[in-house]
C-alpha cells in the first residue's frame, strides 16, 4: 500500500515524531487532569463514585459545547464574548417554539432545535461579518452582541421564564448510558467532528494559517473574509446546540440564563493550550480544559470549600495554565 511506503520513509517517521509531539502537548494537559482526579479521589470520599462522575459529566457538557465553538474563533485570533447571551436568546426562541400550542411534541422539539441553531448562526454571521468587513476587533463587536442578544431575549419573553416542555424532551436530557449522560456523548461527538474539521480538512488548515499569519494566508490566495465569518458562524451554531442542551437538562428557557458562560468557555480553551493570539491549539485540548474546570469545581465543593473559594482557585488555575503553556512552548520548540 502506498501509505505504508510513506510511513517507512524518513519523512513518514518524522511525521510520526511530529504527531507524537502534539500528542505530548495534550498529554501534559491530560496529565494535569489525571493528577486532579487522583488528588480528589484520595482526599474526598465521594469523588470517585458513579453518581458523582455522572454529575461532573453533566455539568461539563454545556461548557464543552460552547468551548468547541470558541476554539474555532480563538484559533483565528478572535474572541466571542456574546456566547452566554446568545445562548439565552437561542433558548427563549426554542422554548417559545417548543411550547407553541397544538404542536405534535416530536415536531415541536424538531422545530425548536432548528430554530435555536438558526438563531445562533444568525448571531454568528452578524459577529463575523461586522468584524471582518469593517476590520473591527471581535472583542468589541461581540461585546455589543452580548448586550443585543440579552436585550432581545428579555424583549421576546417580556423577561419571563418558559417551561413545561414535552415530557420526552425532559426525559432525554437526563438519560444516561452506563452512567454517561447522553448529552455528554453528544458533546463528545461534536468534539470529534470539530477535531476532524480542524485537523484533516483544507478548511481547518487555512483557519490555523490565518491565526498564525493572516497576511501570508491572504497572499496565498485565501479568502480571509469567508473564513472569519465561517469561524464565528460555527461558534454561533454550537451556541444554538448548547441552548437546546441547557433546556433539556434544566427544563427551562429564560432570558437570564447563560450569564458569564463566555468566560468559562474561554477559560476551557485557554487551559486546553490554545493560544489566545490564534493559530495554535486543538479541540482535544479544549475537551481536557473543560474537564479540568468541571473536575476542579466539583472536587473543591466536595472538599468543603465555599463557592467563593472555588471561584478564586479556578481563577488561579487559568493563570497557571497560561504560565505552564509558556514553558511547554519552549520545550516543544527545542
Amino acid at each position: 500500500m502506498d501509505s505504508t511506503d510513506i510511513d517507512r520513509s524518513p519523512a513518514g517517521r518524522a511525521d510520526f515524531a511530529a504527531v507524537s509531539k502534539t500528542v505530548l502537548r495534550e498529554a501534559g494537559i491530560g496529565l494535569a487532569l489525571v493528577v486532579l482526579i487522583i488528588v480528589f479521589s484520595v482526599t474526598t470520599q465521594h469523588f470517585l463514585t458513579a453518581s458523582n462522575i455522572t454529575n461532573i459529566l453533566t455539568q461539563v457538557t454545556i461548557n464543552l459545547v460552547l468551548s468547541i465553538g470558541m476554539t474555532f474563533v480563538i484559533l483565528i485570533g478572535g474572541i466571542d464574548l456574546s456566547v452566554g447571551s446568545v445562548l439565552s436568546f437561542c433558548a427563549v426562541v426554542a422554548g417559545t417554539v417548543m411550547t407553541l400550542p397544538g404542536l405534535d411534541p416530536a415536531l415541536a422539539v424538531t422545530l425548536a432545535v432548528i430554530s435555536a441553531v438558526i438563531a445562533g448562526i444568525g448571531f454568528g454571521l452578524f459577529n463575523g461579518f461586522i468584524s471582518a468587513y469593517w476590520a473591527i476587533p471581535s472583542f468589541i463587536v461581540t461585546l455589543g452582541t452580548l448586550n443585543i442578544a440579552r436585550g432581545a431575549a428579555l424583549q421576546v419573553t417580556n423577561a419571563s421564564t418558559i417551561y413545561s416542555f414535552p415530557a420526552a424532551f425532559n426525559a432525554f436530557g437526563s438519560r444516561t448510558i452506563y452512567g454517561v449522560p447522553v448529552l455528554f456523548l453528544i458533546a463528545l461527538l461534536l468534539v470529534a467532528i470539530a477535531w476532524f474539521v480542524l485537523a484533516k480538512t483544507v478548511f481547518g488548515r487555512v483557519l490555523y494559517g490565518i491565526g498564525n499569519n493572516e497576511e501570508a494566508a491572504r497572499l496565498a490566495g485565501h479568502n480571509i473574509f469567508f473564513y472569519k465569518i465561517a469561524a464565528f458562524t460555527i461558534c454561533g451554531a454550537l451556541v444554538g446546540i448548547g441552548a437546546i442542551i441547557y433546556m433539556a437538562r434544566l427544563n427551562i428557557a429564560s432570558p437570564i440564563i447563560g450569564i458569564g458562560f463566555e468566560l468559562n468557555a474561554i477559560a476551557a480553551v485557554i487551559i486546553g493550550g490554545t493560544s489566545l493570539s490564534g493559530g495554535r491549539g486543538s479541540v482535544v485540548g479544549t475537551l481536557l480544559g473543560a474537564c479540568i474546570i468541571g473536575v476542579l469545581a466539583n472536587g473543591l465543593i466536595l472538599l468543603g470549600l465555599s463557592d467563593f473559594m472555588r471561584q478564586m482557585i479556578t481563577g488561579f488555575v487559568i493563570i497557571l495554565a497560561v504560565i505552564l503553556d509558556k514553558y511547554r512552548e519552549r520545550l516543544t520548540k527545542a
Binding site: V202, A216, L219
Partner: protein, 522 residues
C-alpha cells in the same frame, strides 16, 4: 578609479585632532549577516557631515549604534576624547547625541507640546503636569526652528508629515545637543520645508553643533554639507571635503568598481518569448502620478526593477498581484485585459509572488514546512476538502529537492530553518502552483552567499523553462547578474530602461537619482 588614490584612503581618525566624535573599525553582525564591516568616521564640531551609501550599506545600523539602540561587536568610539559606549537611547541623549529617526516616533494623539517635552515634562506638586510652562517651553522650541505658525496645543495627528518632521526635530533639540543626527530628514518634506530645514541646520552649525546628515539626495548633500563619508557594504570607503568631490565620484564610490564585470557572467539575452504580462499606466494607490507604470514582460525573460527605497517597487508588485488593488490603468495577461480583485484571482491566473518579508508575509513560521509549501495549492493535495498528508509530504519532498531545501522533515516547523532555506520554502510554495509569471521582491534578502547562488541558479532554471520573472532588488549586482533588462523606478514611475549590454551600476544609479537631480535644479 584614479580619484580614489588622491582621496585620503580610508580614514585615519587619530590624524583628525579636531574631531568631536571618532569611530574606528566599528563592526556589527546580525546573526549571519554582516551589517558593518569596519566603519571609521570622524565628526568635527560645527560641521555638517553627510553620510551616503546604497540601500543596505550600513547607514541605519551605524546610527543605531551611535544612539545606543544596538551595541557594536568591535571597534572604538570616542566622544570628545573619552570612550563612548551607549547601552540605551538614554545614554546617547545624556551624552548630547540627539537623533531624528527616519520613522516617526511621535505620539499622534498627544499635543505638539506634550510630544516636544515628552522626555522631561515640567511638573507641579503631586506630579501633575505644569501646562503653563509646558506650553511655554514648547513654544520657545518651535519658535527657535522658525515654526511660529503651529499651535503647540494641537494634536500631532492633525499636522501634515512635513510639520511632524519639524516637530520631531524640535523635540530632538530640547535636550542638550552636541551632535544631531538626521536620518533622511527631507524624505517627506517639500521644497519649501527643506529650505526651512536647511536654515535650521545652518543656525545649529553656527552654534557649534555637529550634524550628521543622512540622505539619498545628492544635491542636498552638495547644498549644505561640509564633508561627506561614503559607506559601501558596511565599510567606510571614502571621506572628502564636499568642495573636493563630485556627485559622479560619490556614486562610483557607493557602487564599488571591481565587482560588476566579474558578476556579469555570460547570459544569452532572450526576450523573444510571447508577452506574458503587460502593464498600461497601472497605478498603485500610493503613487502620486496618474501615468502609473507601463511595461511588457515576456515568457523566459528575467526583468529587473531597480530603484531607491520608497520608489514604489514593492507597491508595483503588490498592485500586479492585487494584494493592493490598483486605482487605475490596465493589466494584461498574454494580451488580454484582466482585473484581479484579490490575490486569489492573480494566483488562479498563473501569477506567484515571493514577498519581501518572509516572516510577515511569506511564511507561517510556526506551521510545518509541508503546510507552508502547500498553502497556495491546497486544492492539489486535497480531495473533497480533506488534506491528503501523504500527498502533501510527497509534494514537499519533490519541490524541496527542486529548490535544494535542506530540512529534517516536512512536518518540522518552518521556523526551524535558516533564512536561506526559509526563502526556498517560499519559492517552493509558489512553484507548487506551477505559475507562469513569478514576481520576486528582494529574493535573496538576509540569505547567505551559498544559498544566494543556489537561488540564482534556480531562478535562471525557471526562466529557461519559460517562466516570466519580475525581480525587485536593492542589490544592483544581483539584478545585473540575473536580468535581461532592468527598469529603474523613481517616485512610482519608470525613470528609464537599461538593456543588458548597457548594464552598469553607475548608469542605473544615475537613473534612480535622475529625478532628484532634476528636482534640485529648480
Amino acid at each position: 578609479m584614479e580619484n580614489n588614490q588622491t582621496m585620503p584612503d580610508g580614514i585615519r581618525p587619530s590624524a583628525d585632532a579636531e574631531a568631536l566624535l571618532h569611530l574606528s573599525g566599528v563592526r556589527k553582525r546580525f546573526g549571519g549577516v554582516v551589517a558593518l564591516d569596519g566603519v571609521s568616521f570622524a565628526l568635527r564640531a560645527g560641521e555638517v557631515h553627510a553620510l551616503v551609501g546604497e540601500n543596505g550599506a550600513g547607514k541605519s545600523t551605524l546610527i543605531k549604534i551611535l544612539c545606543g539602540i544596538v551595541q557594536r561587536d568591535a571597534g572604538e568610539i570616542e566622544l570628545a576624547g573619552a570612550p563612548y559606549d551607549p547601552h540605551a537611547p538614554g545614554d546617547a541623549k545624556s551624552a548630547g547625541i540627539q537623533v531624528v529617526h527616519q520613522e516617526f516616533n511621535l505620539l499622534p494623539y498627544l499635543s505638539v507640546a506634550e510630544n516636544i517635552c515628552f522626555e522631561d515634562m515640567p511638573r507641579k506638586h503631586f506630579g501633575m503636569v505644569d501646562y503653563t510652562s509646558l506650553y511655554a517651553k514648547a513654544r520657545k522650541a518651535l519658535d527657535a526652528i522658525g515654526l511660529a505658525d503651529v499651535d503647540v496645543r494641537r494634536p500631532v495627528e492633525s499636522l501634515g508629515v512635513a510639520h511632524r518632521q519639524l516637530v520631531e526635530i524640535a523635540r530632538a533639540l530640547m535636550g542638550e545637543s552636541r551632535i544631531l543626527i538626521l536620518d533622511e530628514p527631507t524624505a517627506t518634506l517639500t521644497e519649501r520645508e527643506t529650505q526651512r530645514l536647511f536654515t535650521i541646520i545652518a543656525g545649529l552649525r553656527a552654534k557649534g553643533v555637529a550634524i550628521v546628515f543622512v540622505s539619498h539626495h545628492l544635491q542636498e548633500v552638495f547644498a549644505i554639507c561640509d564633508r561627506v563619508t561614503v559607506l559601501r557594504n558596511g565599510a567606510s570607503v571614502m571621506t572628502a571635503d564636499i568642495a573636493a568631490t563630485t556627485p559622479e565620484q560619490l556614486v562610483s564610490n557607493m557602487v564599488g568598481r571591481q565587482l560588476a564585470a566579474a558578476m556579469a557572467a555570460e547570459k544569452t539575452v532572450d526576450t523573444g518569448g510571447k508577452t506574458a504580462l503587460s502593464l498600461r499606466n497601472l497605478r498603485h494607490p500610493a503613487s502620486p502620478f496618474a501615468e502609473g507604470v507601463s511595461f511588457d514582460l515576456h515568457y523566459g525573460e528575467m526583468l529587473g526593477i531597480a530603484g531607491l527605497v520608497g520608489s514604489g517597487r514593492t507597491e508595483l508588485l503588490r498592485s500586479i498581484f492585487a494584494a493592493d488593488v490598483a486605482v487605475s490603468g490596465e493589466l494584461q495577461r498574454e494580451g488580454a485585459p484582466r482585473s484581479y480583485r484579490n490575490p486569489g484571482d492573480a494566483i488562479a491566473d498563473g501569477i506567484g509572488f515571493v514577498t519581501e518579508d518572509r516572516k510577515e508575509e511569506g511564511l507561517i513560521l510556526s506551521m510545518p514546512i509541508a503546510a507552508n509549501v502547500t498553502l497556495a495549492s491546497l486544492k492539489d493535495v486535497s480531495r473533497l476538502g480533506l488534506v491528503d498528508k501523504n500527498k502533501e509530504s510527497r509534494l514537499t519532498q519533490k519541490l524541496g529537492g527542486e529548490v535544494r531545501l535542506k530540512y529534517g522533515s516536512p512536518r518540522d516547523a518552518a521556523s526551524t530553518l535558516s533564512g536561506g532555506n526559509q526563502q526556498k520554502v517560499v519559492l517552493a510554495k509558489w512553484l507548487a502552483n506551477k505559475p507562469r509569471v513569478l514576481l520576486l521582491d528582494e529574493p535573496t534578502r538576509g540569505v547567505d552567499v551559498g544559498a544566494k547562488a543556489e537561488i540564482y541558479a534556480l531562478l535562471r532554471g525557471l526562466a529557461e523553462q519559460g517562466l516570466a520573472l519580475l525581480i525587485v532588488s536593492s542589490e544592483l549586482p544581483e539584478l545585473i547578474t540575473l536580468c535581461d533588462r532592468i527598469l529603474v523606478m523613481s517616485k512610482h514611475r519608470i525613470a528609464g530602461e537599461v538593456a543588458r549590454k548597457d548594464f552598469s551600476e553607475e548608469h542605473i544609479l544615475n537613473l534612480a537619482y535622475k529625478d532628484e537631480r532634476r528636482h534640485g535644479q529648480h
